[in-house]
Symmetry: C2
Subunit: 198 residues, 2 copies
Amino acid sequence: MEYTKPLAKLIECFQKLPSIGPKTAQRLALHLIKMPEYEVEKFAQTMLEAKNTISYCEICFNMTSQSPCEICSNALRDKNTICVVSETKDLIAIEKTNEYKGVYHVLQGLISPIEGIGPDDIRVRELLNRVHENNIKEVILALNPSVEGEATSLYLCKLLKPFEIKVSRIAFGLPLGSELEYADEMTLVKALEGRQEL
Amino acid sequence: MEYTKPLAKLIECFQKLPSIGPKTAQRLALHLIKMPEYEVEKFAQTMLEAKNTISYCEICFNMTSQSPCEICSNALRDKNTICVVSETKDLIAIEKTNEYKGVYHVLQGLISPIEGIGPDDIRVRELLNRVHENNIKEVILALNPSVEGEATSLYLCKLLKPFEIKVSRIAFGLPLGSELEYADEMTLVKALEGRQEL
Protein backbone atom coordinates (compact mmCIF):
# COMPACT_ATOMS: atom_id res chain seq x y z
CA MET A 1 0.00 0.00 0.00
CA GLU A 2 1.40 3.37 -0.99
CA TYR A 3 -0.10 6.74 -0.26
CA THR A 4 -0.11 9.25 -3.08
CA LYS A 5 3.20 11.12 -2.62
CA PRO A 6 2.07 14.54 -1.32
CA LEU A 7 -0.14 12.74 1.20
CA ALA A 8 2.71 10.48 2.33
CA LYS A 9 4.90 13.55 2.89
CA LEU A 10 2.20 15.31 4.89
CA ILE A 11 1.62 12.24 7.09
CA GLU A 12 5.37 12.10 7.72
CA CYS A 13 5.39 15.74 8.85
CA PHE A 14 2.55 15.17 11.31
CA GLN A 15 4.23 12.05 12.64
CA LYS A 16 7.25 14.05 13.75
CA LEU A 17 5.10 15.86 16.30
CA PRO A 18 5.00 14.47 19.85
CA SER A 19 2.30 11.91 20.73
CA ILE A 20 1.21 11.60 17.08
CA GLY A 21 1.45 8.00 15.83
CA PRO A 22 0.98 6.75 12.26
CA LYS A 23 -2.79 6.34 12.63
CA THR A 24 -3.39 9.83 14.03
CA ALA A 25 -1.00 11.35 11.50
CA GLN A 26 -3.04 9.76 8.71
CA ARG A 27 -6.31 11.05 10.18
CA LEU A 28 -4.96 14.57 10.58
CA ALA A 29 -3.53 14.62 7.05
CA LEU A 30 -6.76 13.35 5.47
CA HIS A 31 -8.72 15.94 7.44
CA LEU A 32 -6.39 18.73 6.37
CA ILE A 33 -6.86 17.87 2.71
CA LYS A 34 -10.63 18.11 3.16
CA MET A 35 -10.36 21.54 4.81
CA PRO A 36 -11.13 24.67 2.73
CA GLU A 37 -8.06 26.01 0.90
CA TYR A 38 -8.00 29.33 2.77
CA GLU A 39 -7.92 27.52 6.10
CA VAL A 40 -4.94 25.41 5.08
CA GLU A 41 -3.17 28.55 3.88
CA LYS A 42 -3.92 30.26 7.17
CA PHE A 43 -2.57 27.27 9.09
CA ALA A 44 0.68 27.24 7.09
CA GLN A 45 1.11 31.01 7.53
CA THR A 46 0.37 30.89 11.25
CA MET A 47 2.97 28.16 11.64
CA LEU A 48 5.68 30.19 9.91
CA GLU A 49 4.69 33.38 11.72
CA ALA A 50 4.83 31.69 15.13
CA LYS A 51 8.21 30.13 14.35
CA ASN A 52 9.65 33.40 13.02
CA THR A 53 8.36 35.78 15.68
CA ILE A 54 8.63 33.71 18.83
CA SER A 55 11.96 33.55 20.62
CA TYR A 56 13.09 33.47 24.24
CA CYS A 57 12.88 36.25 26.81
CA GLU A 58 16.36 37.60 27.58
CA ILE A 59 15.57 37.68 31.30
CA CYS A 60 13.53 34.55 32.11
CA PHE A 61 13.82 32.42 28.89
CA ASN A 62 10.06 32.14 28.53
CA MET A 63 8.84 31.78 24.94
CA THR A 64 7.76 35.21 23.78
CA SER A 65 7.28 37.40 20.72
CA GLN A 66 8.81 40.38 22.52
CA SER A 67 11.82 40.52 24.82
CA PRO A 68 11.63 41.06 27.76
CA CYS A 69 8.45 38.97 27.79
CA GLU A 70 5.01 40.16 28.86
CA ILE A 71 5.52 38.85 32.38
CA CYS A 72 9.00 40.34 32.92
CA SER A 73 7.89 43.71 31.53
CA ASN A 74 4.67 43.82 33.57
CA ALA A 75 5.08 46.48 36.29
CA LEU A 76 2.48 44.77 38.47
CA ARG A 77 4.47 41.54 38.84
CA ASP A 78 6.62 41.10 41.93
CA LYS A 79 10.19 41.11 40.61
CA ASN A 80 11.57 39.92 43.95
CA THR A 81 10.11 36.42 43.70
CA ILE A 82 11.33 34.00 41.02
CA CYS A 83 9.51 30.75 40.28
CA VAL A 84 11.87 28.28 38.60
CA VAL A 85 10.27 25.90 36.07
CA SER A 86 11.67 23.43 33.58
CA GLU A 87 9.71 24.36 30.45
CA THR A 88 7.38 27.03 29.09
CA LYS A 89 4.48 24.58 29.40
CA ASP A 90 4.97 24.49 33.17
CA LEU A 91 4.97 28.29 33.30
CA ILE A 92 1.69 28.27 31.35
CA ALA A 93 0.19 25.77 33.81
CA ILE A 94 1.08 28.00 36.77
CA GLU A 95 -0.12 31.16 35.00
CA LYS A 96 -3.49 29.51 34.42
CA THR A 97 -4.08 29.35 38.17
CA ASN A 98 -4.08 33.18 38.25
CA GLU A 99 -2.57 32.96 41.72
CA TYR A 100 1.13 33.58 41.26
CA LYS A 101 2.16 37.22 40.94
CA GLY A 102 5.95 36.91 40.83
CA VAL A 103 8.21 36.34 37.83
CA TYR A 104 9.67 33.14 36.37
CA HIS A 105 12.88 31.52 35.28
CA VAL A 106 12.57 28.82 32.61
CA LEU A 107 15.52 26.42 32.89
CA GLN A 108 14.81 24.91 29.45
CA GLY A 109 15.49 21.42 30.75
CA LEU A 110 16.47 19.47 33.85
CA ILE A 111 19.80 18.03 34.97
CA SER A 112 19.94 14.42 33.77
CA PRO A 113 23.25 12.56 33.98
CA ILE A 114 21.73 9.63 32.04
CA GLU A 115 20.94 11.85 29.07
CA GLY A 116 24.21 13.74 29.52
CA ILE A 117 22.49 17.01 30.48
CA GLY A 118 24.54 18.90 33.06
CA PRO A 119 24.02 22.26 34.79
CA ASP A 120 25.79 24.08 31.95
CA ASP A 121 23.29 22.76 29.40
CA ILE A 122 20.36 24.47 31.08
CA ARG A 123 19.86 28.08 32.26
CA VAL A 124 21.39 27.68 35.74
CA ARG A 125 24.11 30.33 35.36
CA GLU A 126 21.55 32.87 34.19
CA LEU A 127 19.43 32.14 37.27
CA LEU A 128 22.39 32.69 39.59
CA ASN A 129 23.20 35.95 37.81
CA ARG A 130 19.64 37.14 38.30
CA VAL A 131 19.74 36.30 42.00
CA HIS A 132 23.17 37.90 42.33
CA GLU A 133 22.36 41.14 40.52
CA ASN A 134 18.82 41.78 41.71
CA ASN A 135 17.21 42.10 45.08
CA ILE A 136 15.58 38.68 45.05
CA LYS A 137 13.74 37.65 48.22
CA GLU A 138 12.48 34.18 47.35
CA VAL A 139 13.16 31.48 44.77
CA ILE A 140 10.37 28.91 44.41
CA LEU A 141 11.43 25.65 42.79
CA ALA A 142 8.51 24.27 40.75
CA LEU A 143 10.13 21.29 39.07
CA ASN A 144 8.51 17.93 38.36
CA PRO A 145 8.52 15.27 41.11
CA SER A 146 10.80 13.05 38.98
CA VAL A 147 14.38 11.85 39.45
CA GLU A 148 15.63 14.69 37.24
CA GLY A 149 13.40 17.23 38.97
CA GLU A 150 14.66 16.13 42.40
CA ALA A 151 18.30 16.22 41.31
CA THR A 152 17.94 19.68 39.78
CA SER A 153 16.07 21.02 42.83
CA LEU A 154 18.74 19.76 45.24
CA TYR A 155 21.51 21.15 43.05
CA LEU A 156 19.87 24.57 42.76
CA CYS A 157 19.12 24.63 46.49
CA LYS A 158 22.80 24.08 47.26
CA LEU A 159 23.87 26.87 44.89
CA LEU A 160 21.25 29.32 46.17
CA LYS A 161 21.86 28.84 49.90
CA PRO A 162 24.93 31.17 50.05
CA PHE A 163 22.77 34.11 48.84
CA GLU A 164 20.82 33.97 52.10
CA ILE A 165 17.44 34.21 50.45
CA LYS A 166 14.35 32.08 50.96
CA VAL A 167 14.43 28.97 48.76
CA SER A 168 11.20 26.98 48.69
CA ARG A 169 9.76 24.10 46.76
CA ILE A 170 6.17 23.44 45.70
CA ALA A 171 4.35 20.83 47.79
CA PHE A 172 3.87 17.26 46.68
CA GLY A 173 0.98 15.23 48.04
CA LEU A 174 -2.53 14.05 47.27
CA PRO A 175 -4.13 15.85 44.36
CA LEU A 176 -7.48 17.49 45.20
CA GLY A 177 -10.49 15.34 44.41
CA SER A 178 -8.43 12.15 44.57
CA GLU A 179 -8.92 9.33 47.06
CA LEU A 180 -6.26 8.34 49.55
CA GLU A 181 -7.01 4.67 48.88
CA TYR A 182 -5.89 4.96 45.27
CA ALA A 183 -2.83 7.14 45.75
CA ASP A 184 0.50 5.49 44.92
CA GLU A 185 2.96 4.88 47.73
CA MET A 186 5.46 7.58 46.82
CA THR A 187 2.72 10.19 46.76
CA LEU A 188 1.55 9.07 50.22
CA VAL A 189 5.12 9.21 51.52
CA LYS A 190 5.44 12.78 50.20
CA ALA A 191 2.04 13.71 51.62
CA LEU A 192 3.04 12.43 55.06
CA GLU A 193 6.44 14.11 54.94
CA GLY A 194 4.84 17.39 53.93
CA ARG A 195 2.14 17.34 56.61
CA GLN A 196 1.30 20.73 58.02
CA GLU A 197 0.34 21.60 61.57
CA LEU A 198 -3.24 22.79 62.00
CA MET B 1 -3.40 33.76 31.44
CA GLU B 2 -2.76 34.85 27.87
CA TYR B 3 -0.48 33.16 25.38
CA THR B 4 1.71 35.42 23.32
CA LYS B 5 -0.42 36.15 20.22
CA PRO B 6 1.32 34.11 17.48
CA LEU B 7 1.33 31.13 19.85
CA ALA B 8 -2.37 31.54 20.64
CA LYS B 9 -3.16 31.58 16.90
CA LEU B 10 -1.09 28.46 16.28
CA ILE B 11 -2.77 26.60 19.15
CA GLU B 12 -6.15 27.57 17.68
CA CYS B 13 -5.15 26.13 14.29
CA PHE B 14 -4.11 22.82 15.80
CA GLN B 15 -7.30 22.64 17.82
CA LYS B 16 -9.40 22.65 14.66
CA LEU B 17 -7.97 19.24 13.73
CA PRO B 18 -9.95 16.16 14.76
CA SER B 19 -9.17 14.55 18.15
CA ILE B 20 -6.90 17.46 19.15
CA GLY B 21 -8.03 19.08 22.42
CA PRO B 22 -6.67 22.28 24.01
CA LYS B 23 -3.93 20.44 25.92
CA THR B 24 -2.62 18.52 22.91
CA ALA B 25 -2.86 21.63 20.72
CA GLN B 26 -0.67 23.48 23.22
CA ARG B 27 1.87 20.68 23.30
CA LEU B 28 2.04 20.46 19.50
CA ALA B 29 2.38 24.23 19.13
CA LEU B 30 5.16 24.48 21.73
CA HIS B 31 6.96 21.60 20.05
CA LEU B 32 6.65 23.20 16.64
CA ILE B 33 8.23 26.41 17.88
CA LYS B 34 11.19 24.43 19.18
CA MET B 35 11.68 22.67 15.85
CA PRO B 36 14.45 23.90 13.49
CA GLU B 37 13.27 26.65 11.14
CA TYR B 38 13.78 24.61 7.95
CA GLU B 39 11.59 21.83 9.33
CA VAL B 40 8.74 24.21 10.07
CA GLU B 41 9.08 25.66 6.59
CA LYS B 42 9.02 22.17 5.09
CA PHE B 43 5.88 21.34 7.10
CA ALA B 44 4.07 24.47 5.90
CA GLN B 45 5.09 23.84 2.29
CA THR B 46 4.07 20.16 2.42
CA MET B 47 0.70 21.18 3.78
CA LEU B 48 0.05 23.61 0.94
CA GLU B 49 1.41 21.22 -1.67
CA ALA B 50 -0.81 18.36 -0.45
CA LYS B 51 -3.86 20.62 -0.42
CA ASN B 52 -3.14 22.01 -3.87
CA THR B 53 -2.20 18.81 -5.69
CA ILE B 54 -4.58 16.28 -4.18
CA SER B 55 -8.07 16.00 -5.62
CA TYR B 56 -10.47 13.13 -6.27
CA CYS B 57 -10.17 10.35 -8.85
CA GLU B 58 -12.75 10.86 -11.62
CA ILE B 59 -13.58 7.14 -11.57
CA CYS B 60 -13.55 5.98 -7.95
CA PHE B 61 -13.37 9.28 -5.96
CA ASN B 62 -10.31 8.19 -4.04
CA MET B 63 -8.00 11.02 -2.94
CA THR B 64 -5.22 11.25 -5.49
CA SER B 65 -2.68 13.59 -7.05
CA GLN B 66 -3.40 12.16 -10.55
CA SER B 67 -6.72 11.23 -12.12
CA PRO B 68 -7.53 8.39 -12.70
CA CYS B 69 -5.84 7.41 -9.45
CA GLU B 70 -2.97 4.95 -9.09
CA ILE B 71 -5.36 2.09 -8.38
CA CYS B 72 -7.78 2.77 -11.25
CA SER B 73 -4.89 3.19 -13.71
CA ASN B 74 -3.07 0.05 -12.55
CA ALA B 75 -3.38 -2.59 -15.29
CA LEU B 76 -2.88 -5.39 -12.76
CA ARG B 77 -6.01 -4.56 -10.77
CA ASP B 78 -9.20 -6.47 -11.50
CA LYS B 79 -11.57 -3.87 -12.95
CA ASN B 80 -14.55 -6.22 -12.69
CA THR B 81 -14.71 -6.14 -8.91
CA ILE B 82 -15.61 -2.93 -7.07
CA CYS B 83 -15.20 -2.57 -3.32
CA VAL B 84 -17.46 0.20 -2.00
CA VAL B 85 -16.14 2.16 0.98
CA SER B 86 -17.30 5.29 2.75
CA GLU B 87 -14.04 7.25 2.97
CA THR B 88 -10.48 7.23 1.67
CA LYS B 89 -9.28 6.12 5.10
CA ASP B 90 -11.26 2.88 4.72
CA LEU B 91 -9.72 2.30 1.29
CA ILE B 92 -6.28 2.79 2.86
CA ALA B 93 -7.10 0.27 5.59
CA ILE B 94 -8.08 -2.36 3.02
CA GLU B 95 -5.07 -1.61 0.80
CA LYS B 96 -2.80 -2.19 3.77
CA THR B 97 -3.91 -5.84 3.93
CA ASN B 98 -2.33 -6.37 0.47
CA GLU B 99 -5.08 -8.93 -0.20
CA TYR B 100 -7.63 -7.12 -2.34
CA LYS B 101 -6.80 -6.86 -6.05
CA GLY B 102 -9.97 -5.24 -7.39
CA VAL B 103 -10.81 -1.54 -7.64
CA TYR B 104 -12.73 0.77 -5.28
CA HIS B 105 -15.58 3.22 -5.13
CA VAL B 106 -15.38 5.86 -2.40
CA LEU B 107 -18.88 7.07 -1.54
CA GLN B 108 -17.54 10.11 0.34
CA GLY B 109 -20.09 9.63 3.10
CA LEU B 110 -22.96 7.44 4.24
CA ILE B 111 -26.71 7.90 4.04
CA SER B 112 -27.86 9.49 7.29
CA PRO B 113 -31.42 10.83 7.54
CA ILE B 114 -30.61 12.36 10.95
CA GLU B 115 -27.84 14.48 9.47
CA GLY B 116 -29.88 15.11 6.34
CA ILE B 117 -27.51 13.16 4.07
CA GLY B 118 -29.43 11.38 1.32
CA PRO B 119 -28.30 9.19 -1.60
CA ASP B 120 -27.82 12.26 -3.81
CA ASP B 121 -25.32 13.76 -1.38
CA ILE B 122 -22.90 10.85 -1.77
CA ARG B 123 -21.46 9.15 -4.87
CA VAL B 124 -24.29 6.63 -5.39
CA ARG B 125 -25.25 7.71 -8.93
CA GLU B 126 -21.62 7.46 -10.04
CA LEU B 127 -21.46 3.91 -8.66
CA LEU B 128 -24.56 2.87 -10.58
CA ASN B 129 -23.14 4.43 -13.75
CA ARG B 130 -19.94 2.44 -13.32
CA VAL B 131 -21.87 -0.80 -12.83
CA HIS B 132 -24.11 0.06 -15.78
CA GLU B 133 -21.35 0.99 -18.21
CA ASN B 134 -18.69 -1.58 -17.33
CA ASN B 135 -18.61 -5.31 -17.15
CA ILE B 136 -18.75 -5.51 -13.35
CA LYS B 137 -18.96 -8.99 -11.84
CA GLU B 138 -19.04 -8.26 -8.13
CA VAL B 139 -19.68 -5.32 -5.83
CA ILE B 140 -18.34 -5.76 -2.29
CA LEU B 141 -19.92 -3.48 0.29
CA ALA B 142 -17.32 -2.61 2.92
CA LEU B 143 -19.17 -0.05 5.01
CA ASN B 144 -18.98 0.38 8.78
CA PRO B 145 -21.23 -1.78 10.97
CA SER B 146 -23.13 1.34 12.13
CA VAL B 147 -26.74 2.47 11.64
CA GLU B 148 -25.65 4.62 8.68
CA GLY B 149 -23.50 1.83 7.25
CA GLU B 150 -26.38 -0.65 7.47
CA ALA B 151 -28.84 1.76 5.89
CA THR B 152 -26.47 2.58 3.03
CA SER B 153 -25.65 -1.10 2.45
CA LEU B 154 -29.31 -2.08 2.28
CA TYR B 155 -30.08 0.83 -0.04
CA LEU B 156 -27.21 0.01 -2.39
CA CYS B 157 -28.08 -3.68 -2.35
CA LYS B 158 -31.61 -2.87 -3.51
CA LEU B 159 -30.36 -0.64 -6.33
CA LEU B 160 -27.73 -3.14 -7.48
CA LYS B 161 -29.92 -6.24 -7.53
CA PRO B 162 -31.50 -5.46 -10.97
CA PHE B 163 -28.02 -5.58 -12.60
CA GLU B 164 -27.82 -9.30 -11.88
CA ILE B 165 -24.31 -9.14 -10.50
CA LYS B 166 -22.91 -10.56 -7.28
CA VAL B 167 -23.39 -8.13 -4.38
CA SER B 168 -21.57 -9.10 -1.17
CA ARG B 169 -20.84 -7.56 2.15
CA ILE B 170 -17.76 -7.91 4.37
CA ALA B 171 -18.23 -10.20 7.39
CA PHE B 172 -18.88 -8.90 10.89
CA GLY B 173 -17.95 -11.00 13.90
CA LEU B 174 -15.30 -11.47 16.56
CA PRO B 175 -12.05 -9.69 15.79
CA LEU B 176 -9.00 -11.99 15.75
CA GLY B 177 -7.14 -12.15 19.04
CA SER B 178 -10.21 -11.03 20.99
CA GLU B 179 -12.01 -13.05 23.62
CA LEU B 180 -15.59 -14.17 23.24
CA GLU B 181 -16.25 -13.35 26.88
CA TYR B 182 -15.57 -9.66 26.32
CA ALA B 183 -17.35 -9.26 22.99
CA ASP B 184 -20.40 -6.97 23.04
CA GLU B 185 -23.80 -8.50 22.38
CA MET B 186 -24.32 -7.08 18.90
CA THR B 187 -20.96 -8.45 17.77
CA LEU B 188 -21.90 -11.88 19.11
CA VAL B 189 -25.26 -11.72 17.35
CA LYS B 190 -23.48 -10.88 14.07
CA ALA B 191 -20.91 -13.61 14.66
CA LEU B 192 -23.68 -16.19 15.17
CA GLU B 193 -25.67 -14.99 12.18
CA GLY B 194 -22.59 -15.12 9.98
CA ARG B 195 -21.48 -18.60 11.09
CA GLN B 196 -19.98 -20.71 8.34
CA GLU B 197 -20.28 -24.43 7.85
CA LEU B 198 -17.06 -26.38 8.31
